[in-house]
Amino acid sequence: MSLSARHARWVLPAAILLLATAALLSLGIGDVRLSPARIWAGLLDRDSMASTVIWQIRLPRVLVGVLVGAALGAAGLIMQAYFRNSLASPDLLGVSTGGAAGASIAIASGWAAISLWSLPAAALAGSFLAVGAVLILARRGAGTERLLLAGVALNALLGAVTAYILSESTDLFQRNAQILFWLMGGLEDRMGMHVMIALPIPLAALLLWPLGRQMDLLSLGEAEAQSLGVDVRRLRRRLIAIATVLTATATAVAGTIGFVGLVVPHILRLIVGPEHRRLVPLTLVGGALFVLVCDVVSRMAGNLRLGIVTALVGGPFFLWLLRREP
């Protein structure tokens, strides 16, 4: 059912247009409703009230949402090509559970209260430690299957750490609520500082951009790709590094948000086909669009957690798409 090449060309411009619309909507919707004209005035500092709402609250939120969505969408695409499986997602190697464990420890120990930077820093540390452990456990250069199994083991271990922290003193309701909120992801109260933490995301995306063609070959078989001239070891190293930076950074600024990395590449592949040179830019834009739309929905539904909305919106849409597949 994927579109012909002639039509597929228009999917990226259309997605960018939709993303711009969603960003505008996201800037306008909230406790204070702003018309597009007032958004414009606010951006240019001509309306002090609108200006404060936009520059202090909504623009950071939109920017973080765009960056997080782009990161998760592209990281999902990388993992699906890497593991040659359209059901792979960015959390396979323990990046998000590592971040979650790091954040939970930071909140439970009180570090998170010391500075606004300590929570994202702890999450980042947790993510990188987790992936480092998986890579060491799987041993360098070993096949994807070992890597997957090491990831499964570490995911279970780190999930247990978070569960232990939550269960160890159930009377600390406030503290546990904070951890649970973080585990369900969200974009509220994001600030310029979070945008700054998320800046590695566009850098990683730039590094990913030229790898699309090699991802095509890798996604049809490691040995085949190597025999056709791809430096598979180097490519795999780069892909893991890029996916880790994308997912770890996204998790550090917005908590764990599931489903984006699985569903966005999958849907886009159904629409434009499996060519990665097309999918890399599209998953960046599509992931951003999906997260922004889910964030708008979450605000309109009385501040439902973002991680819940991505699953609630994404799940049924995904099922509907799969039903249409012959």
Partner: protein
């Protein structure tokens, strides 16, 4: 098909050993030859082909045109040798044409010879179909077409005939003949010993070791067939296929 004839590549394998799979296999193929690799299941044919293709590391040496493959960069390897795996599995629905075009990766994706390769493998009618919806034999032909599109002078095919109907199997053998006549070196494994009999030379592997290497009549002796394959052989007039 007009393969590039300017580079001729000999294949030399010297004492290749992969623990538990093959041991001490040495083999030399001159440019322009077709050699069939025969042996029972699990005897090490696929391992040997993967070693020859530089995909599976082995102790011992593998040389293409007298150069150790470790000294070649990945792109140069991609231009020198094409390897066709035994089983063609595709997770993603790339079109037949785009998979065949991947054969040009090491040539900067110039798209040259892609249409000829598609035609040679009788895939023109399937060119825009997604590869993950094809039958086993069709998928095998897609991989063969991709290997042809590389125009690599060294062609290493792992049981390319296994899933093919008689006509396409015969066409693959004729193609190997044309490639070799133009100077390519072709090493292919096969189970059909009657077809193997038509090749220039055969290498018989048994339990990971090379048992014999030479003209088919000297390799597939009644004695070897009995001891290696456990079958008795007789020469009788039977069904002979030819391309019309």
């Amino acid at each position: 098909m007009a393969p590039e004839t300017r580079t001729l590549i000999s294949l030399e394998i010297a004492g290749a050993t992969v623990p538990g799979r093959i041991r001490g296999i040495s083999l030399r193929l001159a440019p322009g030859s077709i050699v069939g690799l025969v042996g029972p299941n699990g005897s090490g044919k696929s391992t040997l082909l993967a070693v020859a293709a530089g995909i599976l590391p082995a102790t011992g040496a593998v040389l293409w045109a007298d150069r150790p493959i470790a000294s070649l960069d990945p792109l140069e390897r991609g231009r020198s040798a094409a390897w066709v795996p035994q089983e063609a599995r595709f997770e993603f629905g790339f079109s037949v044409r785009s998979v065949v075009a991947q054969g040009r990766f090491a040539h900067g994706d110039d798209g040259e010879g892609v249409d000829e390769a598609i035609a040679a493998m009788d895939l023109a009618g399937l060119a825009s179909r997604p590869v993950n919806r094809l039958s086993g034999g069709e998928r095998q032909r897609v991989l063969m077409a991709r290997a042809l599109a590389t125009r690599a002078p060294l062609q290493l095919w792992d049981e390319p005939l296994a899933a093919l109907d008689p006509r396409h199997a015969l066409e693959v053998l004729f193609l190997a003949r044309r490639l070799a006549d133009a100077g390519s070196t072709v090493l292919l494994s096969l189970q059909d010993l009657r077809l193997a009999h038509c090749l220039d030379a055969l290498a018989l592997v048994e339990k990971g070791a090379l048992r014999s290497f030479g003209p088919p009549s000297e390799v597939l002796t009644a004695e070897a067939l009995a001891s290696v394959f456990g079958v008795r052989a007789r020469t009788v007039p039977g069904l002979i296929f030819e391309l019309p």
